[in-house]
């Protein structure tokens, strides 16, 4: 596992963290080159979960790909369904009914909060705070129940369709949803007392994992790590898609670009998510939830990019006139973010690795595809 340098034995060595390691959250390896306790270099190794997703799509018809997109990331599958159907709608050049767009916004924001709560639970477990794990998982159950009422499944939703969504929201949904959101916002303040005021948490997160804003842009880091670096890029306002242009919300930006700033960005995004769901439920127009879709696919290509909970998700679909896509390309945010991990890790201690890598919110299903 370790190889000594030829010049100075045992001065620098490579350590394999993973694929079976408590901090990895999935199957991947982080090779770390250490000099004593200090990290000199690092290299992530992924690919243990590679399923050939893009090749799989080339052998499926367009509606059949939607349930497979669920399997890209089981923590945020709604957003992956949405980015796929947006790309196909862009390719066909069709418009979606207004009510369907609003329902999608509600579903996406519920999904974003649920995904951030899973991140909070696993990140706190990395840092040894098991109490916060239980609290975050309890709150996530509320949002999973909401999504289950919406589309009938707990994790793999298969809810958006090309041209709309599969079914309308249930009768009592808006009332229940608002009640749960009030409860959740009250509890979100409790988290800050439970987590942020801990001295151990502050020491392990503040001033750790610094990433220069210019590096973050150049290396393609997106999502909460980018906004924590002070770059106010959120595709919901930067390049508005779906119905996000109709709503009024803030982009959560922090300046410090360390682990604690990434934590603050995610906590604030959950608050903004609550306000977005309220606005969308209040302004929801009446009408059909699915529009007319042409049966015949043109020889064209289309793409869509959206703000996933983890960063910028991108789908490129190229059709050749048959009922199956010729080429599908997925940009997974974590795939690019983890390639920038050596820049964040260099110079810190080995014990900071779980804190820094945990702050990126790894999800191997989407990065290995």
């Amino acid at each position: 596992m370790t190889t000594g340098s030829s010049v100075m034995p045992m001065a620098e060595m490579w350590i394999n963290m993973g694929p079976q390691h408590p901090f990895t959250h999935g199957l991947w390896t982080l090779k770390v080159k250490v000099d004593g306790e200090t990290i000199v270099d690092a290299e992530p190794v992924i690919g243990y979960l590679h399923r050939g997703f893009e090749k799989l799509c080339e052998n499926r018809t367009y509606p059949q790909i939607v349930p497979i997109c669920d399997r890209l990331c089981y923590v945020a599958s709604m957003s992956w369904d949405h980015v796929y159907v947006s790309a196909v709608e862009n390719m066909l050049g069709i418009a979606v009914p207004a009510r369907a767009e609003y329902i999608r916004v509600v579903a996406l924001e519920i999904q974003r909060i649920a995904s951030h709560l899973v991140w909070l639970a696993s990140f706190m477990t990395d840092l040894g705070n098991l109490t916060a794990f239980l609290y975050a998982m309890r709150e996530r159950e509320m949002f999973i129940d909401m999504l289950q009422a919406l589309c009938g499944a707990r994790l793999t939703y298969n809810y958006p369709r090309i041209g709309g969504v599969s079914q309308d929201i249930p009768k009592n949904f808006a009332h229940q949803c608002l009640k749960q959101l009030d409860l959740f916002e009250k509890r979100l303040r409790e988290y800050e007392y439970l987590i942020e005021e801990s001295e151990v948490f502050r020491i392990r997160t503040q001033g750790v994992g610094y990433l220069r804003p210019s590096d973050a842009i150049n290396l393609g880091v997106t999502g909460p790590p980018l906004r924590a670096a002070g770059v106010p890029v959120d595709l919901r306002t930067h390049d508005p898609y779906s119905a996000y242009a109709d709503f009024d919300f803030n982009v959560c930006v922090e300046k410090e670009s360390d682990v604690f700033a990434r934590y603050r960005v995610r906590i604030n995004e959950m608050r903004e998510g609550c306000s977005l769901i309220r606005q969308a439920l209040k302004k929801m127009p009446a009408g059909p939830v699915i529009g007319k879709v042409p049966r015949h696919i043109p020889k064209a290509d289309g793409w869509a990019r959206t703000e996933d909970p983890r960063g910028e998700a991108f789908f490129y679909v190229q059709g050749d006139g048959t009922d199956r896509p010729y080429r599908v390309k997925i940009r997974s945010p974590i795939f690019v973010t983890v390639s920038a991990a050596p820049v964040m890790l260099r110079g810190y201690k080995l014990a900071d690795v779980p804190s820094i890598m945990g702050s990126l919110d790894m999800c191997l299903g989407e990065s290995d595809r």
Partner: protein, 199 residues
Amino acid sequence: MSTPTIVAAKNENYSELGRTGVRSMETIAGEIKSAFPDIDVRIKTTHRLEANKVPREIFLQFCTYLKEKQGFDHLTCMGGNDLRRSWEVFYHISSYGNRCLIQIRCELPRNDPSVESVSLLWGGANWHERETYDMYGIVFKNHPKLERVLTPEGTDFFPFRKDFKLMDHWKIDWENKGRRPPPQALSSDDNRKFGDADG
């Protein structure tokens, strides 16, 4: 080596990025056209540009121009494609300052699938180019570390090429309750006839 002290970058203020100083699509497209007259740049919709036929010879020059002069600072995505008679690489490069995205496609000859790497311009292209090499065998010149990233080391085929066929679905013996055939290894030099994945 000591723990790095955080020095807040003085001249890096991005708080107004993409909010002020946004240039219009027409300006950008016009400037690109005047700098590269033989590249057809079209405005598709708002915030979307397309340059579908970029010659391979001036590809790196074009990308450098986009980054240095036009402010395309973020490489969203890149990928390869097997067009059966030729190869193709496509890039989606976005600009945070101008809030737009440009699609670039570059066709490569069938017998020489190689193109200049852009990972020294945009660090985000590094792993995407490795992945494209991994799946299609397209070689990127001057790439810092062109190795396989998703498939294991020592794989001797390129799985996303169109001549690499997937195996058929299992044919289930419904009358006798299952008895699926045992799983068989998938390799490129297998002489059995591979069906299409959907039969």
